[in-house]
Amino acid sequence: MLTALVDYDSGNLHSAHKAFERMARERGSGTIVVTSEPDVVAKADRIVLPGDGAFPACKKQLFDYTGLFDAISEAVTQNGRPFMGICIGMQMLATRGLEYETTTGFDWIGGTVEKIAPADTDLKVPHMGWNDLILDARHPVLDGISTGDHAYFVHSYHFRVADPAHRLAHVDYGGDVTAIVAKDNMFGTQFHPEKSQAAGLRMISNFLGWAP
């Protein structure tokens, strides 16, 4: 089994790579490859889109790789390969993002990526650090994960989904902030599972065994 971590020059792939490698080794779930090659993505059994940074820049960087988005799109929306988006890689699933300017997303999960606006104005933005997950729905990738488990966040925007059924978890930060989204064979986290110690590693392991 081959899991492709898509490299489009966005942020720190090293820790995500190492976390997926470790969990793949522990559960005997094949090989993890970091790639920008459409051919490799097309062959992969699972696709992970990580990323750090601003929505418009990340989308541009991804689309600057000729054929890369088309390969991801075909694998995920036509061939039903399990997909995991992390942080910006999850936000790009939305219909649109409002960071700096309005940018269209993949529109695979309806909704808008908008600035976090805590009701309590003493709360700092970015939302940075460990927050406890409040699960809204069960999902195979959340096996062994409970409300109250902590995950590591660092972001100023979040994904407000159009259909509440697509939100699997949120956190409280002066109001609801979306933490996990899912639809069909797609799963995405606003937090960084590769930085979230035991709970994060568990989700990565579950994803590697997920058969949607």
């Binding site: 942020g11 720190n12 792939l13 090293h14 820790s15 190492k18 976390a19 750090d52 940074g53 601003a54 820049a57 709360l123 700092k124 933005v125 970015p126 939302h127 940075m128 650090g129 460990w130 927050n131 406890d132 902590h150 590591y152 966040f153 660092v154 972001h155 100023s156 956190v171 409280d172 930060y173 960084h192 590769e194 930085k195 979230s196 110690q197 994060g200 590693l201």
Partner: protein, 259 residues
């Protein structure tokens, strides 16, 4: 609810921990990676490596450290010391750092923060501010603080609160604020300065410099309004464990990640 972070900081020179880490079960207390693993297991919320020599020649050592740490610790890692350009940021991020901290380079040219934040996102750009009290009121309480560089030896004439506002506007995602007056004294954080800066900016401020007791950590948050507290000696030398610190802070009403 977002939890207050405890961040142990390891001073590193030539690939070795400088102050030493006094934990049981450590085979090599000078090895930063082994210390990082111990802190990971102990429940630290993030880790910070500070390259205190930061000469060009030993950059490779720091990259290697970042890489080896990221292979074993699945928690956020900040690296600072000698970071000058956004190329340095890129190299450190690729090596395995999650956040990179600017210090003197940002004082010399605050736009370096903007260039790095535009390219990599504010979330991974930390601006370290080292400041000293330069004016006090009639009761001796600090009312004005100035940035010092070169390990606190060189005055810049720059007001610390104004500078914090400036780097926040340039796109820094976080400020690591160290009191040069208090660093190493174990007399507690410089609360007046921490509060003045935390209240002046909308981004998180990490309080640093002077922790000697667990109450100091509490004060940094409740009175200094810091979002996170950084400490070195009290953890390295085994005075307190991370868990003790977290429990003490939780007992004092601060939301902490205990498990």
């Amino acid at each position: 609810m977002l939890k207050t972070r405890i961040i142990p900081c390891l001073d590193v020179a030539d690939g070795r921990v400088v102050k030493g880490v006094n934990f049981v079960d450590l085979v090599d207390a000078g090895d930063p990676v082994e210390s990082a693993r111990a802190y990971d297991a102990a429940g630290a919320d993030e880790l910070c490596f500070l390259d205190i020599h930061a000469t060009h020649e030993n950059r490779g050592t720091m990259f290697d450290l970042a890489t080896r740490t990221a292979e074993q610790c699945f928690m956020p890692l900040t690296i600072g010391g000698g970071v000058r350009t956004s190329e340095d940021v890129r190299d450190l991020l690729l090596a395995g750092a999650d956040k990179v901290s600017f210090n003197s380079a940002a004082v010399a040219d605050p736009d370096v923060i903007a260039r790095a934040a535009d390219r990599f996102g504010s979330q991974c750009i930390v601006c370290a501010i080292d400041a000293k009290t330069v004016a006090t009121d009639a009761e001796g309480k600090g009312i004005k603080w100035e940035i010092f560089t070169h390990g606190g030896r060189k005055s810049t004439g720059i007001d610390a609160v104004e500078f914090a506002r400036l780097v926040a506007k340039k796109g820094a995602g976080e400020i690591l604020l160290t009191s040069m007056d208090r660093d190493g004294t174990r007399a507690g954080f410089n609360i007046a300065m921490t509060r003045a800066i935390a209240d002046a900016v909308a981004i998180p401020v990490i309080a640093s410099g002077g922790v000697g007791t667990l109450d100091h950590l509490v004060e940094g948050v409740t009175e200094g309004h810091a979002s996170a507290v950084l400490a070195a000696s009290i953890f390295h030398f085994g005075d307190f464990t991370i868990q003790q610190a977290k429990e003490h802070m939780a007992t004092n009403g601060i939301p902490m990640r205990l498990s």
